[in-house]
Amino acid sequence: MASTEVTRTDLEDWMARFGSAVLANRDHLTALDSAIGDADHGGNMARGMNAVAEALGTLDPDAAIGAMFRTVGMTLVSKVGGASGPLYGTFFIRFGGDAADAANLDGASLAEALDAGVQGVVARGKAQAGDKTMVDAMLPAMTAMRAALDDGATVAEATAAAAAGAVEGRDATVPMVARKGRASYLGERSAGHLDPGAASTCLLFEALAESLGSHG
């Protein structure tokens, strides 16, 4: 049975998988954003994750998890723009801030760092549950992950639960009427469409679960 520790290498794998997933889903994310936004979410995320891959490629291999995710976050802030740049940027900056100098994370400290990221997104964007944003995928992901850990789940099980929670949360955005971001301008017409940011958040949690799938 594999390690229970989440290493920097695991987290690099997370970023690589998330990046690939974003590129593979670029057109899909843009199509979602065409329906209730401005048709750029796929392009925004792809530009950002390409820049992240480049930045991580030249990062000091001894950098701690905290420094690594500060780089990820600052890169997204510097390269993406729009709503998703500051939001995902803040997510990773706060994630890194919480992980700080840790060399490895366990299930609990991973959940804590993710929580810090989510709280950063909420603080930055001021969205509440039900506003039809990425937060609606993040919150159920964290709830599911906490519950799994409380039940004694492994890291692999807990992140799989988080991914499943994100998917559920994402799909629950369909009937919602948007109250934040561009989609909110549509009023009732925003109902019936899946939120693009919630969709990219699912890719994030699914990538995490894949990267840690063999962790005890």
């Binding site: 796929g42 510097s78 390269k79 993406v80 709503a83 500051p86 930055r124």
Partner: protein, 328 residues
Amino acid sequence: MKKLINDPDEVVSDALRGMDAAHDDLRVDHDLKIIYRAQPKAAGKVGLVSGGGSGHEPLHGGFVGPGMLDAACAGEVFTSPVPDQMMAATAAVDTGAGVLHIVKNYTGDIMNFEMAAELAGDDVRVETVITNDDVAVTDSLYTAGRRGVGVTVLLEKIAGAAAEEGQDLDAVAAVANKVNDGGRSMGLALTSCVVPSAGSPTFQLEDDEYELGIGIHGEPGRQRLEMAPAAELAERLVAPILEDRSFDNVIAFVNGMGGSPLLELYLMYGEVRRLLDDAGIRVARSLVGNYITSLEMAGCSVTLLEVDDDLLRLWDAPVSTPGLRWGA
């Protein structure tokens, strides 16, 4: 998608190359995608920085120059610029009198300008004015709030004139806020537009439909209605503006979304003017043309700005930018 472009992902950098070549009185930082005046403003005058997604040209880069902006940060198409740009622009244009940030009210723009301010620290005094003049957004409690649209153009001109005459940062910010408070806009689209990196129209309209209450990002509006004559369209734009605020003496601005012929914009202006006459509203100044656009979208918006002698003096003051130029 058919466009006069090369690589869809390089549209903004390629266009900035052309803009740089076309205008000797502008300087372009191509790395950071910032448009500056070639000749910086005299020391002691407030700097004006704006920015936003590209695709709204001439806004904002075309409004850089004496009497208007000092710098404009260009984002990707319909994507707000990033904090690095605003930080660099702010530092570059400050002459010691502080800098006004002019931000259109969109979640992305707000957050990126906000982060720029947080990251910049206290080196430069920055005030921010947020434009939110779009009456199509009726419910600001359950939305991201009204969007910044046509008033942004008028505000950049008027605040630019205030800065040019040497008003201090508080005064320039006050005049900017006065413009935003006194301005209202409403827009409609006959067609969608094509975001280059997306490659197909953001929405589809039938040949007998139009979208009422659109913004400037090719996003659908609040309502899809059956196509109607210009006289009726003008009423659909003017009525909600007049319901939202009372007007007495105005700058009347008919703005093209980019794909409608100037002939039609003048025609719409004639209809708007008739409605204003009927409502007993005096028109002090007029502006008709493509000033804040949504790529090749066909359609237009109407902006009314209540003005007093002070605002009119600032409006009439010389301005010399690629997009707006008089008296100089």
